[in-house]
Subunit: 464 residues, 2 copies
């Protein structure tokens, strides 16, 4: 109801300073899952905000995982929405590339710089602030709301699946709002109904017990050559095809609706190439369209390779070990475990039995139907908020634990209400958001929640 939203938003101006101070406090608290720094304190901050809103809060603990914060606002309403977010951030390194320290938030004009402000503390807090406005100014929210805020998203959400299964009953809902969206380079908010999956492995080849003097290269095998031989059987950079035997077997061809969304996606290839300092995009060279390469096809990428001496000056060694980290982004209906098995068989069949494959944290793709009414609800609230249609696409090119919510909990997953934009640089130095996007992100969630009538079901108007 527009009246409810307008009432709530009438209270925003007077609370901006307070909300900003809370965002700064969130950003000041380090919470690096990869190292464990500040994780407990950050979980405490989230927990206290939820309690302030009157939520019933639980800390869920799993082996090898940081606490998952569960907060429930029960209104006895017919509709329950689940917000999935995370309170952990990427490691801030390389520190020397930051203009100011990553955990000392800095306001430069409209831009707020801090590690995690775009991914995902800003989106999380904007959602909490939206609920706060509705409750305190407009007198309540017309739906039940669950916040599920985990601490391991940036390290592959270890143990999350088990916790979701164990607490399945407490997580019953009508839909899941994914962690947060962004304004694309085209200037419009992006709304998605899923994520690609990922198989992330390290390939390890052992050579001699210790590094040898490289004059012995005629005598001892260099593990780098063997690793390179193995890698080149996995991917053909010329065609962009993944060569792992059977890798595409289970790929579900995109539906006509998915394809039409993807093909309509406004991606300025020239601008992207220029921004990245490239002559042309890879997809162009391979005769693909960029949006299909991004959203429809699986990828194979070397995210790290290392062997031997990397220090300054020269050192002539025959390395005792060579390692490559390879990530494959997966599309529906591939599964990470099936692709891992195929990779292992592929290597073994070609005589690479000595190439050890270490699973470094993998996730299945998670996809919801594009015609689910929650998608239209998010889009409608975006139209009202931004004054322009959002861009709808089937899924994010990135990866998150969406499959757990789709497959384990049976929830539709929709991404959209967020505070980032295409220049936010999540995971990178000088991560930031624009404050204007922050206030609009709050407005978007207010309008989404206020759009539900207490009498309504989520499915009203949905073709049955």
């Amino acid at each position: 109801m527009a009246r409810l939203a307008d009432a709530a938003l009438g209270g925003l101006a007077g609370r901006k300073e307070l909300f900003l101070q809370e965002l700064l406090a969130y950003c000041r608290q380090p919470s690096v899952a990869a190292t464990g720094e500040g994780m407990e304190a950050m979980a405490g901050l989230v927990s206290r905000t939820l309690e302030r809103l009157g939520a019933e809060v639980e800390w869920w603990h799993g082996p090898g995982a940081f606490p998952v914060i569960y907060g429930r606002l029960e209104r006895g309403a017919p509709v329950t929405l689940l917000f999935y977010n995370h309170y952990d951030v990427q490691p801030p390194e390389p520190l020397e590339r930051w203009t100011s320290p990553p955990f000392e938030p800095r306001l430069a004009g409209d831009r707020l710089h801090a590690r995690g402000v775009a991914d995902d503390k800003g989106a999380l807090l904007a959602r909490l602030h939206a609920v706060e406005l509705l409750q305190q100014v407009a007198g309540g929210i017309p739906v039940n709301v669950i916040f599920l805020v985990e601490g391991g998203e940036e390290v592959g959400s270890p143990g999350l699946g088990r916790l979701l299964s164990a607490h399945r009953r407490q997580l019953q809902a009508d839909g899941c709002l994914w962690e947060g969206g962004e304004i694309g380079a085209h200037g419009r908010l992006e709304v998605e109904a899923g994520c690609k999956g990922m198989l992330y492995v390290e390939l390890v080849v052992r050579g001699p017990r210790e590094d040898l003097h490289s004059s012995l290269a005629g005598l001892a095998p260099n593990p780098v050559w063997h690793l390179l031989e193995a890698l080149r059987t996995l991917y053909d950079p010329g065609s962009g095809r993944i060569l792992v035997d059977g890798f595409y077997d289970r790929v579900r061809p995109p539906s006509p609706e998915e394809l039409s969304l993807v093909d309509a996606y406004p991606l300025d290839e020239g601008a992207l190439a220029q921004a990245w300092g490239l002559v042309e995009l890879e997809s162009r060279r391979q005769g693909r369209t960029a949006p299909r390469a991004l959203f429809v096809e699986p990828t194979c990428n070397v995210s790290g390779i290392f062997a031997g001496y990397a220090g300054p000056g020269s050192k002539t060694v025959l390395p005792s070990e060579a390692r490559a980290r390879v990530d494959f982004r997966l599309v529906p209906n591939q599964s990470a475990s099936d692709c891992l098995r195929k990779l292992e068989h592929h290597l073994a069949r070609r005589g690479f039995r000595d190439v050890r494959v270490v699973d470094g944290g993998s996730e299945d793709p998670g996809q919801s139907p594009l015609d689910h009414p929650l998608v239209e609800r998010v889009a409608a609230a975006a139209r009202e908020t931004y004054g322009v249609d959002p861009i709808l696409k089937p899924r994010s090119a990135g990866t998150g634990p969406a499959a757990l919510f789709v497959d384990t909990l049976g929830l539709p997953v929709v991404n959209g209400p967020g505070v980032a934009y295409h220049g936010s640089g999540p995971h990178a130095p000088d991560e930031h958001i624009r404050l204007g996007d922050y206030w609009r992100g709050i407005e978007h969630v207010v309008r989404l929640l206020a759009g539900f009538d207490a009498e309504d079901g989520l499915l009203k108007g949905r073709p049955q």
Copy 2:
């Protein structure tokens, strides 16, 4: 003359403590060319030892190089011998792999541990001590002696060629004793008349301006794939052949004499494979003999490769740059500059114009005739010292600036009088020598120098 040698060596027992103390002082002084640590102080130590022996000492300075110490002991003799050594050492890293600090020499039984004691401070000082014994105990040396002690051997001897050219007249001699030999795994001293050369390059491929999120792998080219494509055109690990166009064109086939020496070289392949933790040697897999692979053939080795994220945990990036360090060991009559040109042409011809080739310090192979009388002089003195024939081989599998002495100065180069053994671990943690080898190294040089008669020329008995 055996009498002269015996007289000199009669004074060794009484001086062992003093000589050992001086060796410890040399080892205590860091002198790392790669970082510059302690270089000036080390040059001073060498300089003072030479002055104590009555040498006329000069410090030669070249741009970008540490001082070269020149010391001349002029006796008006018909024969002049030049000793080439270096006072710099390899970086001591990784420090955690040392049993005791690298610059705090530690005597454990007969073993003296310290960075540089095997390469090359022990060999240098053994030579200086041999001269001291002859002068102070036996009344003089029957030849003129030049010490040329540089400070950049471990970083490719930058600027040395120019200094040798500029001081050509002061370096006139009948032969050059190379920096120092070792007792092989077969238990006999190795005598060599040259070194392999080396082309050391870094191949650099640029991708996007900054690391990208790896979900963009379908859009932006990953420089790792391109680097791998380039590397696999350089070398065939299956056959051991270098595939660079024309790489073998200038290789001089080994002479029958060289081949017979190489084929007679006692190399226990099983023991080597076991020591290195390998199932079998590379050469075996390729149907080569190990000694030919080691001494006769050029090699192509990746001594380092790095791109993307190498830290703990996972980080999914599309790297902005990929680098590989490749060393090619060269045999007569290849030249490093010719091989560099061939490598560049090879890559350009195959469409790898964007693979930047950075020359990281290269040296030509340097080979002297095996029938030069200085070779037999060194071997004869070794027989007397060790009571067993030394092993003669055409060249070291390793690289040093021998070509400068052979080609620029026209000197025969012979390696042999040294203090290391096959287990010394030069360049590695816990580098050490056996003290027994140290005293015998001194004896070897005493016998070599004393073997010259004041009336003799070096060439006596050489076929003209």
